[in-house]
């Protein structure tokens, strides 16, 4: 898995609540059997007009947000389908961090598995970041997973919470299947116990 230590990047504001995984990557693009090739279809129905041209009013198409790697959105981000194609598409597009007041459980899990950091912050702080990203051209944040901080150049400094284990896995870039396989004895013991009962 891709490691995550510290990341500085341009912030794109997506001021919407309940952004679902159908929006992040619509179903017609789920037919690939690879983990790659999804980035160009990210937010397809919002990014492209029905005739296939880029929708100039959509935030990610605006020149000032080109090269963005930190997405800030409203509550319940990633709700709906369990499709891991959603974080694959976000990651391939260039996002490493998503900040929102809350995330759907499966989506947040899927992010961690792909070296992407979902950061849940109180709504007021998210609103503050959203506001700055909308007002200040070139607005950047630095996310430090070691120190668990989100900071900007104007003195904003926020501590965030992440599970100790997920933090450790991201910092080390660990393959968690490999970790589970180290417990082969415990798995065998469980299987023996349940075969007897």
């Amino acid at each position: 898995m891709k490691r995550f230590h510290k990341h500085t990047g341009l912030v794109a504001p997506l001021d919407r609540a309940n952004v679902d995984t159908d929006q992040i990557i619509p179903k017609q693009f789920l037919k690939r059997i690879e983990r790659t090739g999804f980035g160009e279809f990210l937010f397809y129905d919002w990014r492209y007009l029905p005739d296939g041209r880029l929708n100039p009013s959509f935030v990610l198409n605006q020149p000032r947000y080109q090269g963005t790697s930190i997405l800030v959105a409203d509550k319940n981000f990633g709700c709906g389908s369990s499709r891991e194609h959603a974080p694959w598409a976000l990651g391939e597009f260039g996002f490493r961090v998503i900040i929102a007041p809350s995330f759907a459980d499966i989506f947040a899990n899927n992010c961690f598995k792909n070296g992407m950091l979902p950061i849940a912050l109180p709504a007021a702080q998210v609103a503050q970041i959203m506001d700055r990203a909308q007002r200040e051209e070139g607005y950047q944040l630095t996310v430090d997973l070691e120190r668990q901080t989100v900071e900007d150049a104007n003195g904003l400094s926020i501590l965030f919470v992440v599970s100790e284990f997920q933090r450790y896995c991201l910092l080390e870039g660990l393959d968690d299947i490999g970790l589970t396989l180290r417990h082969e004895d415990a798995i065998r013991a469980y299987e023996r116990r349940s075969a007897q009962s």
């Binding site: 001021d15 919407r16 609540a17 309940n18 679902d20 159908d22 929006q23 619509p26 179903k27 017609q28 789920l30 037919k31 690939r32 059997i33 690879e34 983990r35 129905d45 029905p50 409203d74 509550k75 319940n76 709700c79 709906g80 389908s81 369990s82 499709r83 891991e84 974080p87 809350s102 759907a104 459980d105 499966i106 899990n109 899927n110 598995k113 792909n114 599970s163 100790e164 284990f165 450790y168 393959d175 968690d176 299947i177 970790l179 589970t180 396989l181 417990h183 415990a186 798995i187 469980y190 299987e191 349940s194």
Partner: protein, 471 residues
Amino acid sequence: MIDKTKTLFEKLWEAHIVREARVEPTLLYIDLHLIHEVTSPQAFDGIRQTGRTVRRPDLTFGTVDHNVPTTDRSLPIADEIAAIQVETLRRNCKEFGIQLFDINSPEQGIVHVIGPELGLTRPGMTIVCGDSHTSTHGAFGALAFGIGTSEVEHVLATQCLPQNKPRTMKVETHGSLPEGVTAKDLALGIIAKIGTDGATGHVIEYAGDAVRALSMEGRMTLCNMSIEAGARAGMIAPDETTFAYLKGRRFAPAGETWDEAVRQWQTLKSDEDAVFDRVVEIDASRLEPFVTWGTSPGMVVPVTSYVPDPSDARNASDREAAERALQYMALTPRMNIQDISIDRAFIGSCTNARLEDLRAAARVVKGYRINASVSAMVVPGSQDVKKAAEREGLDRIFHEAGFEWREAGCSMCLGMNADILQPGERCASTSNRNFEGRQGRGGRTHLVSPMMAAAAAIKGHFTDVRKWEFK
């Protein structure tokens, strides 16, 4: 010393602990892993790339449902990329010795319909699948939840999943559902009350008289929609209804093993004084048939009500969401729900495509014809449901009314195959998500029960099925 009382969830959780450590998540054993063509190919690739193998092919079962056509199955799949996905699952199942209910198998169907139907889903199990509606299986008193593809790979390789323990929520129902108000309406009523993120991080246990009175089909509908309230899983303690449903099913225990299993299953319930992190009370007797008006399942009102006015919203965020939803749905504030005309009706999906659902819809449809401006289809949840419905003549009732009668699959619930809405089309749908574009780009979805969808197809607009004149 008296033992701490436990919820059903806690009992299932504890029974599946392989390993507990201080910092790491708990390692849980998975009893049943269901796979399908869309979220599994990358997981199998990972297994091959790392030189690993499938630990328990005997606990893993596959079917094709998400992208398969619902038209003539004797023809090859016209969509080449979909065909590759189906073929890839076939190859993966063969390579690793996994039983597959393939496209022409009599057991093929939506993964959450066939699991219970085959008796693969049983009380007390842990069940996962790379699909968020895996919560459906909780209807049997199982701990069942959706996972991503990396986790599919994890379970294939280890038959375990590291999990942080969710919190618990009890939804306690009082009274009984009125005639014409179904499990779907109960689910929508709960979401209306707690919101689409109301149960995030929680496992819901549904309890009370209205839940006990539900058939297994109804319980599956209710647990299915748990994810739409944000829940990790939904569950219902097993009882005689559960045991009666399972008895004689292909993979269910038989003979003495059956009696032993039932004895064990009877212990699967929350202790009387068990403490939940949160309790939500619902008066089932006051619920009405629901219709969603927006682009999130929480945007829902009773059929006797009207489209809300965004200016009445509690806060700016909700107001903006409502305005955006009304614009997408092309509805105006304060419009009566029953004045909303539809173009399409879809009866299907893992939420509402079981035999009981089709019977309920057919009862409404019988003797009527669908409105001239509506096209409508029924997509049974499985080949088994389809055959059973045909034995009862339900297909004829639907045919005579002008419905199309299709082969089993997810179909227009998510529109991965050819079954999609055209831009601007409005659909009464028995599925589970009314997200923008879910059923086709620009399509407008209204979530309803099977009876409500059937009645809307006939009238051409939403109508209160409690006042229906059955023929």
